[in-house]
Symmetry: D2
Subunit: 346 residues, 4 copies
Amino acid sequence: MFFASDNTGPMHPAVAQAMVAADSGYHPSYGADPIMDGVRAQIREIFEAPEAAVYLVATGTAANALALATMTKPWDAVFCTPLAHINVDECHAPEFYTGGAKLSLVGTGDKMTPDELRAGIARWTKGDVHTSQRGPLQLTQVTEMGRLYTLNEIRALTDVAREHGLPTFMDGARFANALVALDCTPAEMTWKAGIDALSFGGTKNGCAGVEAVIFFDPAHAWEFELRRKRGAHLFSKHRYLSAQMQGYLTDGVWRETARAANANGARLAEGLRGMAELEFVEEPEANMIFATLPRREHQRLKAGGAVYGLWGDLEGDPEERLMMRLVTDWSITHEMIDDFLKLARG
Amino acid sequence: MFFASDNTGPMHPAVAQAMVAADSGYHPSYGADPIMDGVRAQIREIFEAPEAAVYLVATGTAANALALATMTKPWDAVFCTPLAHINVDECHAPEFYTGGAKLSLVGTGDKMTPDELRAGIARWTKGDVHTSQRGPLQLTQVTEMGRLYTLNEIRALTDVAREHGLPTFMDGARFANALVALDCTPAEMTWKAGIDALSFGGTKNGCAGVEAVIFFDPAHAWEFELRRKRGAHLFSKHRYLSAQMQGYLTDGVWRETARAANANGARLAEGLRGMAELEFVEEPEANMIFATLPRREHQRLKAGGAVYGLWGDLEGDPEERLMMRLVTDWSITHEMIDDFLKLARG
Amino acid sequence: MFFASDNTGPMHPAVAQAMVAADSGYHPSYGADPIMDGVRAQIREIFEAPEAAVYLVATGTAANALALATMTKPWDAVFCTPLAHINVDECHAPEFYTGGAKLSLVGTGDKMTPDELRAGIARWTKGDVHTSQRGPLQLTQVTEMGRLYTLNEIRALTDVAREHGLPTFMDGARFANALVALDCTPAEMTWKAGIDALSFGGTKNGCAGVEAVIFFDPAHAWEFELRRKRGAHLFSKHRYLSAQMQGYLTDGVWRETARAANANGARLAEGLRGMAELEFVEEPEANMIFATLPRREHQRLKAGGAVYGLWGDLEGDPEERLMMRLVTDWSITHEMIDDFLKLARG
Amino acid sequence: MFFASDNTGPMHPAVAQAMVAADSGYHPSYGADPIMDGVRAQIREIFEAPEAAVYLVATGTAANALALATMTKPWDAVFCTPLAHINVDECHAPEFYTGGAKLSLVGTGDKMTPDELRAGIARWTKGDVHTSQRGPLQLTQVTEMGRLYTLNEIRALTDVAREHGLPTFMDGARFANALVALDCTPAEMTWKAGIDALSFGGTKNGCAGVEAVIFFDPAHAWEFELRRKRGAHLFSKHRYLSAQMQGYLTDGVWRETARAANANGARLAEGLRGMAELEFVEEPEANMIFATLPRREHQRLKAGGAVYGLWGDLEGDPEERLMMRLVTDWSITHEMIDDFLKLARG
């Protein structure tokens, strides 16, 4: 009953096999391996973006921080929500890699509206040397609360950015989960909706540790390469990153794992609707569930062996409602879900 | 005939198997995996350092830059040689991670002497707010030219650092190669010789991408953890780093691969002594050979399929002598060496 | 009718005379001038802090950014209000000098309450490597909206910081204006109320460009000196900073100019109460007035030659209310105020 | 007998008077003062550069570091000599402001030759992501050892930079001293000789603390303004910087003070030629003298009240030769020089 995160499970067998297959003979290092050539071509095809610059790094924070730094000046404001991963979960990696840019918080939660974005941009007066300058718009898809931006919502936000000449970046740590939930194409969810660059997650969806950074405008390519090396994120034995991404992309594995993860999330959510005391914080839309229960219920679940994220201490007022996070990746079995539901329902 | 680097070959089977073995079930993320507990204990035992702080990252540059940053203030000079990897091969990662420290070059090549170090330290006047402040001593073992510091040489240099109250760091990207060449213990080559912290390489010696950072004084632990996360080098699925290191350390695999790499280097060097036109730049001491040949010989070798590092262009004056670098890891076969020697001798 | 800021007027004659007096003969450079020895002694006496470390810089932003950087790690959150000068008026100088710290906004305006501070601190989970670490509390006195923290309010906030082991910093760009308004001693408004360090403004209160940075704990001294030099804020002809501060402090000039500035503010505010359409945004407490008027009134005032800060464009809906800021320093004459009031009242 | 530096004397009366003249009434802040408009026009005229971007800061280190940062990427090498002020006297301000650029040392002293520069550039392989990228050429005029680059020498060096597409920067802390020594125009010593940007010193030549930064290509203007503000070097009461520069430039004061300083240096050097034991380290060319004497002579001079820079301790082997630095600004009187010479000759 391991629902703590989608970063705790194993590799998908196809990814593991690709790594094994790549593990013989000699490959040029530092990204010049031929597997990477194939990965680049695959991503360009999947995204219908034949000119895109494509790079691999091993962590989601590296993908976000390096990509944002390439699009952001040290005196710029990055427009993101208060709950954005870059704001609360990256220990100032964005500030470090940008040389001191400011995350300028828009809205109050995990999603922003065009009006909130407009207000956020208006906060910094154009042409005033004293304040933050206006920098990129950052969106997370799936959001940190397990929700989605629809294509129209993305477009409406990137339109606001475009009006002000600001670039746009998508944190796609759970890109595949969003894509299959929206049932659209990668191009539709990105450049056709006004996104300039993104991190394309592999780690949470069946890989060991690999994320692609994609710039639809290749003008950023060389600067990104320098930033990646300077940040110590260029792998010498790069083939092991390439191979993961190759296994992930080939034969649509990445969509299958995302579908499985979302289906697991839906099965879990459906089951939980039967619990009298449980309240969803947000209606689940992908593979994450945020809900509240009284503390005594958390005590019972944890004592029963359930592993999940909990906001607050296990000890305290038994009736106080505490928020939980349950995440399912592709590897979670129906048995695990059903065991948990059985436990949960008492 | 692939002698370009020790970062182009495959994983040692024991390392690959450890990764496969780790690839099932659910592990806590971000370094809390139980495999890491075992790795930490192994390293502490190997180094006879029960209090040491031990961390894993995926690249050698990350290990060096993060460890140095923990020991260095932004206004400090780091004392290293002109050929140090941190000076010429890391695209300013040390400057980036330290917030602008200066690499203050000592000596003229890949090794420094105590007198050169004394002169380097004397360059920066103590207590003068205008100049660089005196920071850590950095040594690379095996050096970037394939040479070794003897234990006495290390001690003589760390003694100079100690006289001035300066900490000491060893770049051990090829730590194992040095260790088996010197036939000493890890403790003797590090803390018993005055080394405060080191990067302990796995990638070049049989792993896919893992390096340990070891601080003999655990006072640095928490700051290092923050720096690692801020630098985006903390893996969520950390078990895949742990597993590599576990496979590498268990049953002395790491010493075996290093012995094999050095023996391959020796076999190659012995064979090359038979070449009339070849001159060694330095007498090889581990798994790297630096030698010069006339350009026409390089043209012949490259045309014959040999892959190695070359300083200079393939086109030009046929008699001009150009430097080559040949590196052997554990995976190089006697056949590959003998094929190359056959080609080399014409 | 120049009410744009307290950084637009001339030096007080006593300050100007001190500069002239210092302008002969030869002085050791870089802060070793004997005038600085006197200034240090004066400030220590004024603050009843015989051990305090005292430094001079030329701009308020330098004072804030350098002092904060000395108290803040790059991964720390600085707790300040959304309207803090460090957040909206320093073009990321705090982020630059700290190496990427985050300004974590507390409350909604120019002042925070202890409960808001507690909530702000609670946002960052202690011991979690992913989030911001808890760093210093920053207060501005006089606030950016012209208001004051009472001594009890300061103490209540620093008590919260102390509970969490966090250092405290006061931006005292208008320190003197606050002091004379509260009618307390410098020690009472700072270290006796739990403040660890402050910037002590001179520029806005009669000097040309000088601010003191004061650390009540001298342990920070040497690091600050290095940071000041590295930031290029150490003056070679330092005597001209020392002389300004000397002229400012001697014979209580600094309190007299602050009293005059506040009295001018009060005279102006009293006069404005007679304007039917004017509404104060905050009740003025020192030398700054924030009020709103319909745009047509601003058009009339500006056309009549009044110079002041205006939030919004002069062109637009004539009935829309726009905020104005009026600031008075010591040099503003009663005639200027009365002329403005005459104009304002139509 | 105060020859320690040209940063220890008073303002020239014309500069002091300009400050006094500026010290009344109300001026827009942050560089919008009308005096600055005049200064900008003056500098453009003096340099025959009607499009130049012109800014003022208060310290030479700020001028150098901010200007260089505008021309340099964090992964670039700045080509300068080992004795460059930016390398040995600015406590890593260049590294700080550039975000971690490397000062790549060319030659062995205070001047470089075109061949040395070519070798320095060749050290960093173009297009290699691992090494430093090639950044700006930095020259100091007058050099840190009191010597000059001739116009032909400057041109020869900037030609090398131009061949590689690298920008060029002149540290002109003693610009005027060099100009009058070479008897050329400001344009000839800068943009006509291939210089793209410079710091134009005022502080050492009669001002209290002001340096101009001049970019001949105004494309850098807005970025420089942001960098200046972010570095906390934008003065609110900017008129006091403007006024100094105005007084300095008007009626050729700046050339007169430089001529006087150089003449003082020449008188001092001529006098010292009569000392049997003194040896010049370099033939003096402007207002700085570097020479050696036995320690016993330094002991005698210091005991006699002479103030100057000394490399080494006053105590030790009486016969050991130690280097001294003597600097003369415009304010040094013939009496002071003659008194010193009398003392020196015993």
